[in-house]
Amino acid sequence: MTRRVVITGMGIVAPNAIGLDAYEEALRGGRSGIRHVPLLDELKFGCRVAGVPQGVDEVAESYFDEDELLAMNSSHRFGCVAAVDAWTDAGFERPSHEDEHVFWEAGAVIGTGIGGIDTIGERIVPMVDSGRVRRLGSTMVEQVMGSGVSARVSGLLALGNQVTANSSACSTGTEAIIEGALRIRSGLADRMLCGGTEGASHYIWAGFDSMRVLCRNHNDEPEKASRPMSASAGGFIPGSGAAVLHLESLGSALERGARIYAEVLGGALNCGGHRSGGSMTAPNPVSVRRVIGQAIADAGIEPDEVDLINGHLTATGADPNEVAAWADALGATPESFPVINSTKSMIGHGLGAAGALESVACILMLRGGFAHPSLNCEDVHPRIEGYAESIPHKMKEMPELRTIIKSGFGFGDVNACVIYRRWTQ
């Protein structure tokens, strides 16, 4: 049984906008969500800027009751707001706690790269180490368990199908969408809320800072700090937030007359096995080319049907390798290379949320017929120079935009690639 899968709702909590309209406006305008974080000065981080969604607490307090908020760290607040928004955007009302109906046909795959480390750092470690275990209260486990957000969302929305959380580092969000799409395709679910969430915490960013993979030389110019594909890229900017997409079988969407944003044409997941130059922190170039080819085969399209590449493109030294992989896998010359952009240039690297935050950008670009600008790469990296014409520095109108390919690569040498197509009746 193979069924077509479409996207009928979305929710977004991004560093440069909350909500779909605001996010589209920010994307079109090339508005950066990277800001200076004073705490990082105090703590002597190398990188002192980050992408953190603004004003989320006010939204969360209007959505959730006091009891729910007591058990929600930043990752939970981002993820739950995005999930509820995706659900209502898809045309469903939030069920009341008293309503015993369970949506057996609807589930969730909402992943995270790091999880509730802010709760561990701020509550569990100091209290346990000072002998105050009994003062921790009842909300610690649900805030630090990997499946905490999907578990909370299932209660908010009465989900009855598979409810789980995936984790594959920086490919988590993209992987979640593919996992959910496969479940719908196979007939095991009609609707799946899929995406990723990552909290805003110096405890999450510290390990990356210590690895020296974060940008250290643009602390005074936050909006210029995230520089994918640039010759002056000096590392990625940590981001945070959440995005959730409401995936649905085409049959279910048509039957209820749902508004359809786009189709998930196909996707693929793999791992490079830490061979051929791949490692815990670097992708095997063979596996990257392979996952792109597999996604194209799964979607049943020709490589030249791809109009836009929304890359993983984090602003590390790996960007030129990624562009080379796209050219190889698509069989593209510099002349035939599709438009390419990096959403991270505006919002930083949302880690486990990245693939979902960027997928929502893809769907908005498909629907609106535009390519958002890729910021801060006017000085294109010398190894990408041949493809410079493919990079929009300002918003590019693309009324014929039909097909976007999106990748996510993660620590552990894991890769995800998904293909979206504009929906036309």
Binding site: D65, E66, D67, L70, H97, R135, G137, S138, T139
Partner: protein
């Protein structure tokens, strides 16, 4: 502290966790915290911790286990306060 004052403070604390906000209004000593106010049973731990903070008391686990109604909580706190 007068019993009705303690009762009001207890209700304020339990109210944070109650799913049935409508039942808070007419609550009495006999109101069951879990069944009538729909407090999630796991959250009783947090209710007790909030009592400890609010009234500056310590509640042993066996005393906490005996709290079923709002009245049970008020009586327990009054006894601790002497």
């Amino acid at each position: 502290m007068a019993r009705d004052e303690t009762f009001a403070k207890v209700m304020e604390i339990i109210g944070r966790y109650a799913k049935n906000k409508d039942a808070l209004e007419g609550a009495t000593d006999d109101t069951n915290i879990l069944e009538d106010l729909k407090v999630n049973s796991a959250r009783l731990v947090d209710v007790i911790l909030d009592f400890e903070d609010e009234f500056d008391i310590e509640v042993a686990d066996e005393d906490a286990d005996a709290v079923n109604t709002v009245g049970d909580a008020v009586t327990l706190i009054e006894a601790k306060l002497g």
